[in-house]
Symmetry: C2
Subunit: 427 residues, 2 copies
C-alpha cells in the first residue's frame, strides 16, 4: 500500500465533517477524514480513498484491525436478528453467558464474576460502587495524579488529567496519590491523618496510565500500595479499560506487577464495559444494574470472539515480540526522549507541544495515525496483529516527519489546520 | 399463537441461566427464560420454544418489536464490516452524521445538536454537565421525588427511587422537589432559602416517571417549573430516556405539556444515548467527550432507521390510538386502581405487593410479559406496532390472572419462584 502525501480532508469527507461539526454537541478535534468500511489488517481507507496505517486502533477499541475474518463472521451470524439491543439484567440471552465464560477464563484467579455494562466509564463507576457498598464509613475514594478513569461524574472525580474535563462540575470526594514510589507512604499518611482506613472507599490505579501518556507504574509503588491496602482492608481496583485485554502482552496489565487486585474494570478491546471481581465481592441484588447491562448482543459476541482469536492466533506472543521490536526501533530515533510503555502500548516525548502537534499532522499526511498525549508526547497502540514491517513503516514516517517538522520555519497550511490539535493554534 | 400454561424456566434455558446466576455480578431478579432469535411483531420465543406476548419491549428499548424487516435490513447491511465499535469523537463515520440529522429533525425547535453516548445514564450525566459548565456558582442540582435518572454516580444522585440503589454510595449534592403542583412554589423557596438561583446547576424532570411507575406530571406543575426556571435562568432538562422517541404518542413526552426544555436526554428506543440541546448551549471543546461517543456503527444505523420507520408507518398515530384503547380496556378491569399513563406507557395498581408479584408471574405463565413498578403497580409498554387484538389478548390474560391470584390460598410453586420478584419472598 502506497502512503502518499495528500490534501486532507478529501472532498467526500468534507461534506459529512461539516455536518458533524455543526451538530455534534461535543465537537472537539477529530482526525480530518471520514472512515469507509474498507480496510484490512492495520490499514483502513477513508471515503476519499486515502489509506492509513493505524497506530491508534480506535483508541484501543480495535485490537484485531480492520475486517478481520473472525469478527466479520460473527457480524454475519447476526444478519437476520433484531433487536440486538436488549434489557440484559431483566432478560437473558446465550451470548451473555458465553462472554462471561470467556472473560472469566482469562482473569486472575479468584475473579470469577463480572457485570457487563456499556462503557469504560460505567465499568469504573460500578467498580467504585461495589467497593463502597461494603464500606459504610466511606468518606472518599483514592486515585492517582495524571489518572484518567472516565467522564461520568463518579469516574471523572477520580480523573486527574486536564482542567477542561472537570471545570465547574460537582464531584464526589477523592484524594490523590503521586504516581511514584512515594505513593505507599502517602497512602499511610492519609490513613493516619484523615480518620483511618474505613473512610476510604477504594484505591484505584491504572497500571499503565492511558490518557496520562503511557506512564508505567513503578513496581515498588505497586507492591507497596497493594501491601498497604491489604493490611488495612481497603479494596484495590485495577483500571484496565485501555491497558487490559492483552494490550501489554499479558491479559491484564496488573499481571506485569505480580499483584492481585480485588476488582478490575475493563472495556475498549472487550467491546463492552465490564466490572470484574469475585462473585462474593459483589453486593446484594439491586445494588448495581443497568437496562443495557450486558445489552448489545453483537458487541458481546464480538468481545467473546476477540478473546478466542487472541488465544487461537497466539497474539499475546505477537504483542510481546512486536512491542519489544517497537521499543528497540524507537530507541534508535534521535531527538526523542522518555521512550516508555509495555507491549503494544508505547509512547515518547518530543521537545515541545508545537512540535508534537505538527508531528501528528505530518504523520497523518503521510498516512500514519498516531495519538498525542500529555504535554509533548506521542502514543502508539497498533492492533495486536501488527508486523515488524508495519512498525518499520511507521518508524520511517515518524523519523522523516521529525526532521521536516523540526525546521524552524516549518508551518502547516490548509484545511487540515482546523482538525486534530493544530500546532499553529498552540503557539 | 397459542399461549399455554407452562413450566418455567424450560430445560434449555435453565443451563444457561444457572451459569449467568453464578457469574453475573449484578444478578438480581430476571425473567425465567433465555430469549432465542425467533420472534415476530410483539411476540418472541425463548430457547425452549415458549412464545411470549411482550408488553415490556426490553424496557422500552425495542420500539419496533421482533425481527422487524426494516431493522433486519440495516443489520444485514453491516454483515461485512469490522470494527463496528469505533472512537466516535476522534474519528468519524457517515452514520454519525445521518443519525444526528434524523434525530434533530424530530426535536423541538432550537434543539439542533446532540452528543451521542453509550447509555441513558451517560445521556443524563452529560445533560447535567453541560448545564453546570455554564454555571460556575453551582452548588447543587435539583430533581424530583420518585425520579429515576440512571445508575452512574452523577445520575444516581438525581435518582430518588429505591434505597438499595444508593446505600453507602458517595453522591453529588442534589435537592428534591415533590412531583406535584407544589413543586414550583418549593423551587422558589429553595432559591430564596439556599442563596439564590445561581447555586442551582439545573432542574431535571421526567415528564412521565419511568421506574417511578408511569406517574404523569401535573400540567400546572410543569408550566410552573418552566416559568420559575426561565425567570431565574436555571437550565431545565427533560429526561426522556424511557418516555421519549415517540413512546407517549408525541416524539417527546415534554411536548404533551407545551413546554420547551433547554436540554433533552434520550436513549432506549434510540439505541444509543443522546444529550440534545442547542449547539450554542454546549460547552467548549474538551468539556465533554467519550471514546465511544457515537461509537457503535450498527446501533446508530438502527436508531436512525427506527426514526424513519416511525415516520413512514405513521406509528405515532398508532401509539395514540392503541394507547387510548389500552386505557379504555384497563378501565374495565375490576379491582385495579390508579389507571394512568400516556400513549403506550400505561400502568395500574393492585391492592398489595404480594398480589402484584404473583400477577407478574401468573401473566408470564400464560405467555404475557408485564413489568412491576412502585409498591404495587404493573406497567405495560408494548412495541409501537401493537394492535388492538394484542391488547385484548393481554387484558384477558391479566383479568384471568387477577381472579386466580386474588384467591386467599393462591401460592406459586416450582423453579419460577427463584425468578422475577417471587411473591412468596415478599410475605
Amino acid at each position: 500500500m502506497k502512503l502518499d502525501y495528500r490534501n486532507l480532508p478529501g472532498r467526500n469527507s468534507m461534506q459529512i465533517i461539516e455536518y458533524i461539526r455543526k451538530h455534534n454537541g461535543a465537537w472537539s478535534s477529530p482526525y480530518p477524514f471520514v472512515m469507509s468500511k474498507e480496510g484490512s489488517g492495520c490499514f483502513f481507507k477513508d471515503i476519499d480513498n486515502n489509506p492509513y496505517l493505524d497506530f491508534g486502533s480506535q483508541i484501543a477499541s480495535n485490537p484485531l484491525g480492520y475486517n478481520h475474518k473472525d469478527v466479520i463472521n460473527v457480524v454475519k451470524n447476526y444478519a437476520g436478528r433484531s433487536p440486538i439491543k436488549y434489557a440484559g439484567q431483566d432478560f437473558m440471552v446465550k451470548e451473555h453467558a458465553d462472554l462471561l465464560e470467556e472473560l472469566i477464563q482469562i482473569c486472575p484467579k479468584g475473579l470469577d464474576a463480572a457485570f457487563i455494562v456499556n462503557s469504560g466509564a460505567e465499568a469504573v463507576e460500578n467498580a467504585i460502587k461495589i467497593c463502597m457498598r461494603r464500606r459504610p464509613a466511606t468518606r472518599y475514594c483514592v486515585s492517582f495524579e495524571s489518572a484518567f478513569h472516565g467522564r461520568t461524574l463518579g469516574a471523572l472525580s477520580l480523573t486527574n488529567s486536564k482542567t477542561v474535563q472537570k471545570k465547574n462540575y460537582l464531584a464526589i470526594p477523592v484524594k490523590r496519590l503521586p504516581f511514584d514510589e512515594n505513593a505507599p507512604e502517602k497512602l499511610l499518611r492519609l490513613i493516619n491523618d484523615e480518620g483511618g482506613s474505613d473512610n476510604i472507599g477504594s484505591v484505584i490505579i491504572e497500571p499503565v496510565q492511558g490518557e496520562g501518556g503511557y506512564n508505567v507504574a513503578d513496581s515498588k509503588m505497586m507492591a507497596g500500595i497493594r501491601k498497604v491496602t491489604k493490611e488495612h482492608g481497603i479494596p484495590f481496583i485495577s483500571d484496565e479499560v485501555q491497558a487490559g485485554m492483552g494490550r501489554t502482552g499479558k491479559w491484564w496489565a496488573i499481571e506485569n506487577f505480580n499483584v492481585r487486585p480485588d476488582v478490575i474494570s475493563a472495556a475498549k478491546a472487550l467491546q463492552v464495559g465490564a466490572t470484574i471481581s469475585n462473585k462474593k465481592f459483589f453486593p446484594e441484588p439491586g445494588a448495581i444494574s443497568s437496562t443495557w447491562g450486558g445489552g448489545q448482543i453483537i458487541d458481546m459476541a464480538i468481545g467473546m470472539q476477540i478473546i478466542r482469536t487472541i488465544k487461537k492466533d497466539k497474539l499475546l506472543m505477537n504483542i510481546q515480540l512486536q512491542g519489544n521490536y517497537m521499543n528497540k526501533r524507537m530507541l534508535e530515533i534521535e531527538s526523542i526522549s522518555n521512550v516508555r510503555g509495555l507491549g503494544l502500548m508505547r509512547a515518547f516525548d518530543v521537545s515541545s507541544t508545537r512540535l508534537r502537534d505538527n508531528l501528528v499532522i505530518e504523520c497523518l499526511k503521510n498516512g500514519l495515525i498516531v495519538l498525542g498525549c500529555g504535554k509533548s508526547g506521542i502514543r502508539m497502540i497498533p492492533p495486536y496483529i501488527v508486523s515488524s514491517h508495519e512498525i518499520d513503516l511507521a518508524v520511517d514516517i515518524i523519523k522523516k516527519a521529525l526532521v521536516k517538522c523540526s525546521h524552524k520555519k516549518f508551518k502547516h497550511k490548509g484545511s487540515i489546520c482546523r482538525f486534530v490539535n493544530c500546532a499553529e493554534a498552540s503557539i
